[in-house]
Amino acid sequence: MNLKKYLVRALHRLQKGPGYTYKELLVWYCDNTNTHGPKRIIKEGPKKKLMWFFLTLLFASLVFWQWGILINTYLSYNVTSSLSIGFKTMKFPAVTVCNANPFKYSEVKPLLKELDRLIEAALERILQPGNSSEDESPPLDLELWNQIPLVLIDEHDKDNPVILDIFETNQTAVGNDTNVNNGTAGDNETMGNKTMNDFGAKPTCSHQGSDNCTYRNFSSAAQAVTEWYILQSTSILSKVPLHERIRMGYQAEDMILACLYGAEPCNYKNFTQIYHPDHGNCYIFNWGMDEEALNSSNPGAEFGLKLILDISQQDYIPYLSSAAGARLMLHQQKSFPFLKDQGIYAMAGTETSIGVLVDELERMGYPYSDCTMNGSDVPVKNLYSQYNTSYSIQACLRSCFQNHMVEICGCGHYMFPLPEGVTYCNNEDNPGWAYCYSSLRSSIKQRQICIDSCKETCNDTQYKMTISMADWPSEASEDWIFHILSYERDMSTNVTLDRNGVIKLNIYFQEYNYRTISESAATTIVWLLSSLGGQFGFWMGGSVLCLIEFGEIIIDSVWITIINIIGWCKGLKQRRARARYPDAPPTVSELVEAHTNLGFQHEAPGAVPRAGELPPEPGTPPPNYDSLRVRPPDTLGPDSNRDTE
């Protein structure tokens, strides 16, 4: 009953509204709305009415269509990029310098002695196959060899390649179960002048003594020897504890001879040591781990970093690295240097000048682009976080590989950091690791998985380098330079340096030291609203208030509907109540008539003559005011087609 009361009250309130019927409401709306079209519909003659009706309809649909497009554009999260170039005071990049050779040969010689003798003997056999008679005084330790031997593959006969172990004379035909990794199978016509087609295929077997072998073949002996040596030495060195490996590498005071940053002197103590599996001890200047990063506020070589390094080329491991020089890399503070990817070489005996332009790309994160701010949302455990470095795509890819390696091979690869509780692979504990590693490394599926799971960082900073080189020291100056540098390092008057060791580096900002591409959202909510408003305004001159007006009208029409329904229901009830009397209730005039005219009969409802046919009633004609006139039943308007039925 409460509800009914409420409804009644609401109805009463509504009666103050613009109209009692839909048509009244509509006309009222058209006349009073602020949108431009509807007003016109009712303002003028019927022809224009029709025209404006369709125009309004057309414009309204245009507005909605364009709104759809705009909202779609907004939801596609486009970005615009703005580029800025110039010079500003910037953090000087972290500079990592390494020697291309990881360890001093003099230090690791005891460990690699057997391996070196083995490779020397093998080379001897390869190069002079005839005189293999000379006997080495101590017998070769063939245990290393037998795990992963170097072989020659003769592929003159393509179907039956002949495999020849270098230390054994018997030739073995490759059976069906072995699988020649035919990346580079020889072409007999052109290589026919050689007795051996492919050299140095290196079989790696999954288990010792098992038949499941893969030959990795190389078209060049030099490649094969280097790869074989790297594989073997990796296995040997992985057993050495880390502090021992650091000791065997190059020490900062031996390597960094002079350092000057701007006008301030610096020395090897300003460098942070880090152990890099490829290059041994690396030293990072301005890494920003302990102290604040240095700024550089001037362009030019005078205000940059000047370094003199010694790589002591005489102490290189002969078979491990054939290129000599320093490896250096510029990177951001607190990021791990991935020298193999981004590093550059500096040649001994030269002065290398590196002009730096910082190329930054600042992107917006989700949903604008698929990048990660700090790597926390990447499903790969970042193994490089143990160095306290930030996330990078390279770190992610390597961690991903290492995780796969641990999962599949049971041990970690020497080149990458270890997850907790795992050891590095070596030949004794994990005899099949080399096979496992090389199959994993060449697996495209594994790479794809890693590529898919790693995301790039949103802020990508690259250091664009302009590299130029000159001979250093000059012939005239080299005597005194070497003398002083040797004296400073070794406190002796003997010259311990030469052209093949010293490297001078100048790293400085260029005249324009930054180029920043930053993204901003192309479509903001403000943009969306102003565009929506522009569209609505353009076609119909409308605004948000017009939408509210329209909503109001809809509410009103709902109320009218409710009233109508209630009215209908009431009518139904009344009709039902009235159904007991077959006739309509007598009108007052009928009653009067019946009272005065005795012969009066109730007429059938259909027989009542129409109003027009009635004779004119006597009496004063009604005043001709519009307001008094009864509304004609069938008028024009949207619902006027009712009377055609």
Binding site: E24, V27, H36, G37, K39, P46, L50, L55, Q66, L70, S81, L123, L127, G183, D187, N193, K194, F199, F218, S219, S220, A221, A222, I317, P318, Y319, S322, A323, A324, Q342, I344, Y345, A346, M347, L361, R363, C454, K455, E456, D460, I467, A522, S531, G533, G534, Q535, F536, G537, W539, M540, G541, P621, P622, P623, N624, D626, R629, P632, T635, L636
Partner: protein
């Protein structure tokens, strides 16, 4: 059935849509009506304002608002074709680019001996005559074969000359005669030449063969340039006569050039390389050219996973006059691109490991109407002579070659042949050098129109290279490395390799980030319309509806009013002529008709229920009525004080 539904509808339409003209009788009335009823904001103020100053102010304001709208919209329209740049970075597996490697020296000198001996002798003689330089051996040899002048015929046409500038005389290399120089003198490198002591300028003279007085003298500040340039001129003459197959044989084979090859951790060999003959660099080899349909890709960055090759430079076979530097040249390019190695190649030093880190950038510009670039080159009227996709470089070279064939009758040696043409050589086209130099000068000065015709391509790929060099092989590894590499090279090479004959090259992706720089239209039609709407709304609260209103009122209605006036005038005049007497002028508005009865005035009537609803008045009301009181106070002020009879007539029907 009396009538079909169609007729019924027509009748209905006729009844419900009576034809009516503009409601205002005069233009000023129309304007007033418009201003009062329009949706735009300023106009109403003009009519409503009282006082001349205020009205004037509003007129000025409204007009300036209109002006502002027009200006801003014009601005918007003009800036419609602007582009915004977006940079996306995507980390993904990247296709490895094609890497073309050439030896700097095009052909093996020993094999070329038979073609070049004449030229070399001539060059040596020039060196001796002008500079007193002589190799120990050549002196002896010359006395033996005593300048047979059979083949050196054409050398005499274009001899090297020593020019004494002030007297404009030149000493001929052969005859030793001094002769007067006619024609104009060109300094090939005039910015360097110091005209003060130009005593010993070396150069050569090119003359029009048909008109020997028309000569051009090319001089050089240094004999090094002069001799190289002169040598190249004759060299091209000779090479133009040698068929391509022979040239390919004279050059290096893949086995010669490539010692070892390693890609993505796997060994590779010469079958991964495609031979490509370059006119100036001989045989070049393209790694990953995509010729067999597959393009290699890299899924890991870093130097281990890129291309590593050791090149055999073979310095002993170098041509001493043609090339003066040693090493190799490489270029990183797309598989569809032509490698312009002579223009944009990177040089590789021997006895060193060159590591080249790549960074991939892809760019795309919007073509017309945003910028003047071409998508495929199909709309450029220059035939692409190279069998590769369009680039600006290709277009310029093709354009020059075409001009060369048109004006000189033969094709220049360094560029591909157009159909039906052949390379210039001195025997067939004695005039070509002069022609070529003249044409080339025109080309450089942009007089050939090639620079105007050729447009840059809309999309291009770029590999930014970071090159660094390390010593290779290192001192301690040099010994075994050279021995093993010599063994690799095979038995046919008996000598041990020298490290200056070798170059190590590493090409790899620094990272797998692909930068894609693209231009996008900054405006779409939707945004343009939104901006229009914003402007219209800001200044006048106007919309398209207003524009239509303006068109309707100012053009259609005004026109019809004017026409109607004219028509009435004409009618009146006609009637006057017919009656011969001044007829009663049509009264301006029957007072009886000014009330609610006049449909024209409905708008101005008291808003009764019916008029508010715009319900039509019953035409033939059955109800008789009292005439309404004709008090003027009761009457509303109407917008239209004057009523033309014409409108009334129309209404009566």
């Amino acid at each position: 059935a009396p009538a079909g539904p169609g007729k019924k509808i027509t009748a209905r339409l006729k009844r419900t849509l009576p034809v009516r003209g503009p409601q205002a009788p005069t233009l000023s009335e129309l304007m007033r009506w418009y201003c009062l009823n329009t949706n735009t904001h300023g106009c109403r103020r003009i009519v409503v304002s009282r006082g001349r100053l205020r009205r004037l102010l509003w007129i000025v304001l409204t007009l300036s608002a209109v002006g502002l709208i027009l200006w801003q919209c014009a601005e918007l329209l003009m800036n419609y074709y602007s582009a915004s740049v977006s940079v996306t970075v995507q980390f993904q597996k990247l296709p490895f680019p094609a890497v073309t490697i050439c030896n700097i020296n095009p052909y093996k000198y020993s094999a070329m001996k038979e073609y070049l001996s004449e030229l070399d002798k001539e060059t040596k003689k020039a060196l001796e005559t002008f500079y007193g330089f002589s190799e120990g051996k050549s002196k002896v040899r010359r006395s033996v074969d005593d300048w047979n002048s059979t083949g050196s015929d054409f050398f005499q046409h274009i001899p090297l000359l020593k020019v004494e500038d002030f007297s404009r005389t030149a000493t001929d290399l052969h005859t030793g005669q001094k002769r007067k120089i006619e024609g104009s003198v060109f300094h090939k490198d005039s910015s360097i030449v110091n005209s003060g002591d130009s005593n010993n300028i070396i150069g050569f003279q090119l003359c029009d063969a048909n008109n020997s007085s028309d000569c051009a003298l090319y001089t050089f500040s240094s004999g090094v340039n002069a001799i190289q340039e002169w040598y190249k001129l004759h060299y091209m003459n000779i090479m133009a006569q040698i068929p391509l197959e022979t040239k390919e044989k004279l050059s290096y084979s893949a086995d010669d050039l490539l010692l070892t090859c390693f890609f993505d951790g796997l060994s590779c060999d010469k079958r991964h390389f495609t031979r490509f003959h370059h006119p100036l660099h001989g045989n070049c080899y393209t790694f990953n050219s995509g010729e067999n349909g597959t393009i290699l890709s890299t899924s890991t960055g870093g130097s281990e996973y890129g291309l590593q090759v050791v090149l055999y430079i073979d310095e002993a076979e170098y041509n001493p006059f043609l090339v003066t530097s040693s090493g190799a040249k490489i270029i990183v390019h797309d598989q569809n691109e032509y490698p312009f190695i002579e223009d944009i190649g990177t040089e590789i030093e021997p006895a060193a490991a060159t590591s080249i880190g790549m960074h991939f950038t892809r760019s795309r510009k919007l073509s017309k109407p945003y910028s003047d670039c071409t998508e495929t080159g199909a709309d450029i009227p220059v035939e692409n002579l190279y069998n590769k996709s369009y680039s600006l470089q290709i277009c310029l070279h093709s354009c020059f070659q075409k001009a060369m064939v048109d004006s000189c009758g033969c094709a220049q040696y360094a560029q591909p042949l157009p159909a039906g043409a052949e390379y210039c050589n001195y025997k067939k086209n004695p005039n070509w050098m002069y022609c070529y130099y003249r044409l080339h000068e025109k080309f450089v000065k942009e007089q050939l129109g090639c620079q105007q015709i050729c447009k840059d391509a809309c999309s291009f790929k770029e590999w930014a290279l970071t090159t660094s060099i390390a010593q290779w092989p290192s001192i301690v590894s040099e010994d075994w490395m050279l021995r093993v590499l010599s063994w690799d090279k095979g038995q046919k090479l008996n000598k041990k390799l020298n490290k200056t004959d070798l170059a190590n090259l590493m090409v790899f992706y620094k990272d797998l980030n692909e930068r894609f720089i693209s231009e996008n239209p900054a405006n779409t039609l939707v945004i343009l319309l939104s901006n229009f709407g914003g402007q219209l709304g800001l200044w006048m609260s106007c919309s398209v509806v207003c524009v239509i209103e303006i068109v309707e009122v100012f053009f259609i209605d005004s026109l019809s009013i004017v026409l109607r006036r004219q028509w009435q005038k004409a009618k009146k005049w006609w009637r006057n002529r017919q009656q011969g007497s001044p007829g009663k002028a049509p009264q301006a508005g029957d007072p009886e008709r000014q009330g609610h009865d006049n449909p024209v005035c409905i708008d101005e009537d008291l808003p009764t229920f019916t008029t508010a609803l715009r319900l039509p008045l019953p035409q033939n009301s059955p109800l008789p009525r009292t005439p309404p009181p004709n008090y003027s106070t009761l009457r509303l002020e109407t917008a239209f004080t004057e009523q033309l009879p014409d409108t009334l007539e129309l209404d009566r029907h």
